[in-house]
Amino acid sequence: MSGKTNTELNGIWKMHAPLEGEVLRATNLNVFYRDRAKLLFKQNALKQVLYDVNFHIKEGEILGLCGESGCGKSTLSKTATGIIKDFTGELLLKHGQPQMVFQDPYSSLNPSKKIGWLLEEPLKVDRKKQWTGEERRARVREIIAQVELDEHLLERYPDELSGGQRQRVSIAAAIMRRTKLLIADEPVSALDVTIQAQVLKLLDDLHRNLGLSILFISHDLRVVYQICDRVMIMQKGRIVEQGTVDEVYRNPQQEYTKQLLRAANL
Amino acid sequence: MRYVFKKCGTMLLTLIVVSLCLFIAFWLISGDPATHILGTGATPERLQALREELGLNAPLFVRYFRWLKGFLTGDLGTSYVYSLPVRDLLASKIPVTFFLAVFSFVLVCLIGIPLGLYTGRHAGGRADKIIMVCNQVIMSIPPFFSGILISWVFGMILHLFAPGGYVPFSKSAPAFFSYMIFPAIAIALPRAAMTAKLLRGSILEEAGKDYTRTAYSRGNTVNGVLFHHVFKNAFLPVLTFLGMSLANMLAGSLVVERVFNIPGMSNTLLTSIGNRDYPVVLAAVMWIAFVIIVINLAVDLLYRVLDPRTAQE
């Protein structure tokens, strides 16, 4: 996947790019949704979902991305990870493939595999290093301790775990190969408040201890305030406002941001 | 409306593709028709002459279009065995099969839907359990076996009809009916059981959905929920099955026609396969394909009328 360019739309998605102090830089991203034509001969219809998106993530920072459903938050995350290839503009990543944590802990773990298998899988398919079985298991034990899970869970299937535990497993799988950039798409929205607080604390710890940079996507402005350094507000495919959390929350410039803050009773 | 046109277009396209496939397949397996007609002992000169006469020396595509043109104008070719036009051979058979299929279909609906409604409404009850076990047994009986049993019970014991006999509609309508009802039952029973089971399962699935709870929260009775809310939703998957059943039955029930000795399409098809009478087989299979595709189209359109969600692209 590395350095692959899309010939049709000329979007550049590049890993291991020479960036200074940033782990991701997106310039003039215009992202399209390809409406697959049913008939063979028809041209696929393109629908634009993101307009002129510019942003960057600094090394070791948590960047929040806020907006309502359908505003293009998830599209942006998929573009950043290289899943969506229909775009123009440039997306540079300093390190390797970013990993993701998804909202629904029920569908983000393969239900027919044990937790141990799921955690070993990223190591099995690692192209940079051939891991032996013993090394893999050692690494799994190390990570499982890092996300504060019990080792006996490795023998369980995902549906035997609680939502919070699953989300910890997802995070563990994501950092298995020491990724530097984590994209968390509404990681705590499906959890109870007390569990939510624990998972947020875990993310914050990992961020501090591993120097992890996180793109934190959420519709919940309170959560974003708590965990993020900077925040972007998105509306209908455009970033309408960005800045440090304090700036944006204290002194919102855009009407839409004010509306969101009001709705959240802030 | 545009949707209807589009669907019809797709249907025509499918028909052409299917006919081309069938034509090529039969061309591959049937070998040389001239040899079929004249037998293996014929002299090369005579064979060559006959090939010329039948137009077999033309390229495959030309022959396909010639055949297709004939097909569309009602000229289905000539039977090798009977030396009769295929159209005449099939013309008297298709109505019999058609009638048998429609009759069976009516029985399927009349038995299957009420049973499905009843077992779905009273799921878990004693009657439901008994009916469901009977359903399983009925679905396990091959139609030729049930056909023989029906002949035995109604023919030999109750003397309601003479097994193996048949009276054409033109001769006596009541007699024709009395000879059709038992094969129709043999065809309909397993499908009616399947319909009941499907409808029951579908009703119970819908019963677990949120809108059913909403319906109860408004003070509906169980019957109110069943008939005003659940039934239409639950019927949609059953509709697909019924459509497929009708298509299958119109294609002809091979074994039942054989058991009851009914001079329908399937019997002709079987005999022709046995005789390697390929023009007849080709025409019959083509007809079946046509029926299936038309029924599928009808089901699609009906589905669209019943479910407003499908109307939205």
């Binding site: 109870d192 305030y225 | 949120d210």
Partner: protein, 268 residues
């Protein structure tokens, strides 16, 4: 609160047990509370706290044969748990209505909006003519903030947005002017701005129609915005209850404190 403290719903020792496993599982344990006329009562708790179960029990939507229910739910002098089906049905939709979390799936996909709006009237007010029902439906739809009601009347649920569907649900639930509206997480599936609109609508229904609302939610800040009184539930039991502001300002129980503590703090 200075309005007349008339009790319209009284829940005494409500206990619900599941029996599908070897050991009975108690999901609601000895729950007691009263709902006053025109009051908004919030029930908060995390998943598995039994809040939704209690709500469904009051709405008469639990399958009586599948689980064991004990205690009493008194409405209008009748115990909803033991009264006959006919009696219970006469209240459902007419006096006690309910709306649910998922407006997407809670509406019948094959029926027109108008038809579903009118259902409570068709069931409980057979004396009304078709025209009267139609007029009432249009008026109710306008009242719950659905513009262009005549057009919406002929539409199907899938053609509406989530917020509009929830408005339809609220409209259909209140068309017969019930005394109690039970709202089970009605805004959880919606965006924040839509959420705020729905909360405002519920408040309007409460004030204008004098409908008491039982508001079930996991979202403490929403409950704080909307409810007059609040009940905190944990593992099937009520751990704390009282006037909303008092509970939030001075939570007495450790669990309540933990819950409030878990809300991300925003100090601006």
């Amino acid at each position: 609160m200075d309005r007349k403290e008339e009790v319209i719903l009284e829940v005494n020792h409500l206990t619900i047990e599941f029996h599908d496993h070897d050991t009975p599982e108690r999901v609601v344990d000895d729950v007691n509370f009263v709902l006053h006329k025109q009051e908004i009562l919030g029930i908060v708790g995390e998943s598995g706290s039994g809040k939704s179960m209690s709500a469904l029990a009051i709405a008469g939507l639990l399958k009586r044969h599948a689980l064991s229910l004990s205690g009493e739910i008194l409405f209008d002098g009748t115990d909803l748990l033991t009264c006959d089906r006919e009696r219970l049905r006469s209240y459902q939709g007419d006096e006690i209505s309910m709306i649910f979390q998922e407006p997407m799936t809670s509406l019948n996909p094959l029926q027109r909006i108008g038809h579903q709006m009118e259902e409570c009237l068709r069931i409980h007010h057979k004396e009304m003519t078709k025209k009267e029902r139609y007029d009432r439906a249009i008026r109710t739809m306008t009242a719950v903030g659905l513009d262009d009601a005549e057009k919406l009347y002929r539409m199907y649920p899938h053609e509406l947005s989530g917020g509009m569907r929830q408005r339809v649900m609220i409209g259909a639930a209140t068309i017969a002017r019930p005394k109690i509206l039970i709202a089970d997480e009605p805004t959880t599936a919606l965006d924040v701005t839509i959420q705020a609109q729905i909360i405002a609508l519920l408040r309007k229904v409460n004030v204008k129609r004098e409908t008491a609302i039982l508001f079930i939610s996991h979202d403490l800040s929403l409950v704080r915005q909307l409810c007059h009184k609040v009940i905190v539930m944990q593992k099937g039991r009520i751990v704390e209850s009282g006037i909303t502001e008092e509970v939030f300002e001075h939570p007495e129980q450790p669990y309540t404190q933990a819950l409030i503590e878990a809300i991300p703090k925003v100090e601006l």
